[in-house]
Point group: C2
Chain length 269, copies 2
Amino acid sequence: MNKGSVTILGSGSALPTYQNSPSGQIVSLCDKSFLIDCGEGVQITMRQMGVHTSRLYSVFISHLHGDHCFGLIGLISTLGMLHRTQPLHIYAHADLEKLMKPWLDYYCQGLSFEVIFHAINPRKQEVIFEDRTLTVETIPLTHSVPTCGFLFTERHRERIMSGDFVVVSQRRYAYCSDTRYSTKTADLIKGVDVLYHESTYTEEHIARCQPTMHSTAKQAAQTAQDALAKKLIIGHFSARVDDHEQFLKEAQEVFPNTIIAKERETFEI
Amino acid sequence: MNKGSVTILGSGSALPTYQNSPSGQIVSLCDKSFLIDCGEGVQITMRQMGVHTSRLYSVFISHLHGDHCFGLIGLISTLGMLHRTQPLHIYAHADLEKLMKPWLDYYCQGLSFEVIFHAINPRKQEVIFEDRTLTVETIPLTHSVPTCGFLFTERHRERIMSGDFVVVSQRRYAYCSDTRYSTKTADLIKGVDVLYHESTYTEEHIARCQPTMHSTAKQAAQTAQDALAKKLIIGHFSARVDDHEQFLKEAQEVFPNTIIAKERETFEI
């Protein structure tokens, strides 16, 4: 069976810090790579890490806050310089295509590959990508702009004696950022293998969650527990909290199998 | 007398590498800071280095290739989150304002400060900024899109016995990137204290200079020598050359007082 992994490119929130860059991560499943969110600097970190972009199949943008999409034009430009030929599929709120158009017109005339935008409705739970090996579904979230997470479900099939195929593995990975805590989220991702959930604040700053529509580490852990997840990765840390061990400590009190989304590290799914 | 310095935020060329990010540098003169070029990631590096943005007076963009301006929207967004109130002046080719408008309209409604674009004509040598303490002039360069460098001239004045002021210092810093080698450049920056000149290629790749309109390390050094510069900083290194010592070696054969624009380092002017 192929390995599944998630590589963290950025796990900060809106304001970059000395230890965190804006959001981005590579999900590798079934020999394909997918980029979730593309904050500024994501493609630079990919290059610094030597991430191979030739297997990058598509990009999923959770919402249009700058720390989740300002790096897209740089990524597309770099893929052009690397002579990519396969189309790049971008799944995002419809406004992104409108915003990108003047930049693509100015910078990407004669680009070696096609950029194909797929407008998604973040308010609706639905399958937005499906092939022989996996599906990707939206997870409606609650944030200050239309936002959804993404649920990756692998469909590993094996041929049995009769000659038919049966699904023997259904690894699942859920990405939930940015969002206010909601009990509904756990219902949508029940039994997930690995959950990445935003954890912008520690308990000390819980009062900020309501106006900014973010979660605490403890709330992320509560969602993991309610979803019966096997593992939780927390990220999207506020610049207000220097000590990331505090996020970990608070989350582990509720959900012990929690880890920090350390940038430039790869975790197994 | 106040110190003058240049801090290198990015000294790579179009394609980011494991050792170089896109162009950007902070010039500090007369208690003011100026950003020259703003490639993707420049504001993240500033934050990581703890560069104080409150003294950032204005931004000068040499040309509109992505590696010199894709980081501008992230910078403006971050300055807003830091509650900047003083206006930010951006000097660039007129197309930049048109490109930025839809993004500023979408992301920067109710921004805490004003963004003021000043259209410059890169083909003309002229003073584009002037105050009591310094002037900034354009240096027309030869590249595949309209491009200019910037010449900073300090005007440090002291009161003499008669009560009048006389200019006692005229420190000068020139930024020349991106450009094909031209003997004209040296004429425009005669006697400069520090010259930053692009050095995209080593001699091995000299054939690429003509089609891409870039310079070799040796050509950068020739310009420094012809300009009677006191010091040369070379940067904008191609992803094709791993060994930066090779750039240095070739430049020093022509102009011994050459140094490498190492990212995150600060050099005295």
